[in-house]
């Protein structure tokens, strides 16, 4: 029986759920951290989403299962967030999510490699861009605060940050 033949809310094969979990759980959790600004809530919602997938994902096509999973998780996150409104100043919470879970040896090595890549990528940014990244990410300033402290217009600050992020992203993805 193919996925198209199954009822829409039929359970999904546990092996398929496990494979999807191995492939998408980390990304899903990051997405939920971005929505919820809370790593623990994000982990809980991600778990709930996979439970939904196992219970009712039988009718989904394999090509759309990831999107289905993320959509279900997003709606679940919105429900949770309404119940638990969180404060702002969220980048630190997002950053702390990376240390909430004890990494495996492979994950630690991968992380060290990522950190080194980030360090190199940061070093290759222009000084203005580096300053902006520092203000926004490491000092948790808002764009307006960072612009004021750097003595530049807000639009300039935004442009520098956007350019820095784009370059960092390309560096980290190996496209640059």
């Amino acid at each position: 029986m193919t996925a198209e033949d199954r009822p829409p809310d039929s359970p999904l094969d546990p092996a398929a759920v496990a494979a999807l979990h191995a492939e998408h759980a980390a990304e899903l959790r990051r997405f939920l951290v971005g929505v919820l600004r809370d790593p623990q809530l994000a982990a809980d919602v991600a778990q709930t989403a996979f439970v939904r997938l196992a219970e009712r994902g039988g009718g989904t096509r394999p090509a759309t299962r990831k999107a289905w999973l993320f959509r279900v998780a997003f709606h679940e996150a919105l429900l949770v967030r309404r119940k638990d409104q969180r404060s702002q100043r969220i980048l630190r919470k997002i950053a702390s999510s990376s240390t909430d879970h004890a990494p495996t040896a492979d994950a630690a090595a991968l992380r060290a490699e990522t950190v080194e890549t980030v360090r190199r990528a940061l070093a290759e940014l222009s000084p203005d861009q580096q300053a902006m990244v520092r203000k926004r990410v490491y000092e948790d300033r808002t764009f307006a605060e960072a612009a004021r402290e750097l003595g530049i217009p807000l639009g300039t600050a935004l442009a520098r940050m956007q350019a820095a992020l784009a370059r960092l992203r390309r560096k980290l993805s190996g496209d640059d």
């Binding site: 990304e27 899903l28 990051r30 997405f31 951290v33 971005g34 929505v35 600004r37 990831k66 999107a67 993320f70 959509r71 997003f74 709606h75 919105l78 702002q88 100043r89 969220i90 980048l91 630190r92 997002i94 950053a95 702390s96 999510s97 990376s98 992380r111 990522t114 950190v115 890549t117 980030v118 360090r119 940061l122 070093a123 000084p127 203005d128 580096q130 300053a131 990244v133 520092r134 926004r136 990410v137 490491y138 000092e139 808002t142 764009f143 940050m161 956007q162 992020l165 784009a166 960092l168 992203r169 980290l172």
Partner: protein, 253 residues
């Protein structure tokens, strides 16, 4: 996927970053979240933005390369943050302190060794010259006679000034001593770079001939009477004239 997927990646990534950073207005955030409900690319962009911020946060800014910013080129900003520009990390301060202590110890050891060696050299030279001077004075007085010891009697007070030759020798030695001290002081002053007015060289040069030396020479003044007389009339040649061996045993009292 939805109609939003055609947006440029940078724009979507930028929106995602602004979203997770809380840098959207309520209206913008509402619109973006509507998009998240239908656009898988937007969801993945949010996940990627979180990953990027997490990677940046994991990179200790204190370890980053220090960079300079500023349109004028004079304004320097440390990527490690203002705290590191104003207050260096304890590791940096500790390394400077240890390095400074080691440098001080090394410098002290070098100076101690060098100055000690220098002073010893000066003392040796001074003692050698003084010893030679004292030794030569009696030797040239007795060498040509019987080679006896310095057995001349001390007649009268050392500083009575009754004997012109004795006075001349004493003055001679006093001058030589002063010159010796002045030379040593000058060398020391030069070596220690104290010519700038700390007075050390002047103090050293102004020390008078010690009484023991005057007494020792004056005790033999009678042996040096001829040359002492010459020295009294030709002070500049006295130093050279003194060591000259005297073979006239008759001068011995």
């Amino acid at each position: 996927m939805s109609e939003h997927s055609s947006a440029s990646p940078d724009s979507l990534d930028w929106l995602a970053f602004r979203y997770i950073a809380g840098e959207m207005t309520v209206a913008e955030s509402t619109v973006f979240e509507e998009r998240l409900g239908s656009d898988q690319a937007a969801r993945e962009a949010v996940a990627a933005a979180v990953e990027l911020v997490g990677a940046l946060a994991a990179c200790d800014p204190a370890d980053l390369v220090k960079v300079e910013i500023g349109t004028s080129g004079d304004d320097r900003v440390d990527l490690a943050g203002p705290s590191s520009t104003v207050r260096p990390s304890w590791r940096v301060m500790a390394s400077w302190a240890v390095g400074g202590a080691i440098a001080c110890l090394a410098l002290a050891a070098v100076v101690d060794h060098w100055s000690g060696q220098r002073l010893r050299d000066l003392a040796k030279r001074s003692l050698a010259r003084t010893a030679g001077m004292i030794e030569r004075a009696p030797s040239h007085a007795v060498a040509g006679a019987n080679g006896g010891p310095l057995d001349g009697p001390l007649d009268g007070p050392l500083d009575a000034g009754g004997d012109v030759a004795s006075m001349a020798v004493r003055d001679q030695l006093a001058r030589l001593w002063s010159e010796e001290r002045a030379e040593s002081a000058g060398e020391l002053a030069a070596d220690h770079e104290v010519e700038s007015g700390d007075g050390i060289g002047a103090d050293l040069a102004s020390v008078d001939a010690p009484a023991w030396m005057i007494a020792a020479v004056a005790a033999k003044s009678g042996l040096l009477s001829d040359e002492a007389a010459d020295a009294a009339s030709e002070p500049a040649a006295a130093a050279d004239a003194m060591p000259a061996p005297k073979t006239d045993a008759g001068a011995i009292p």
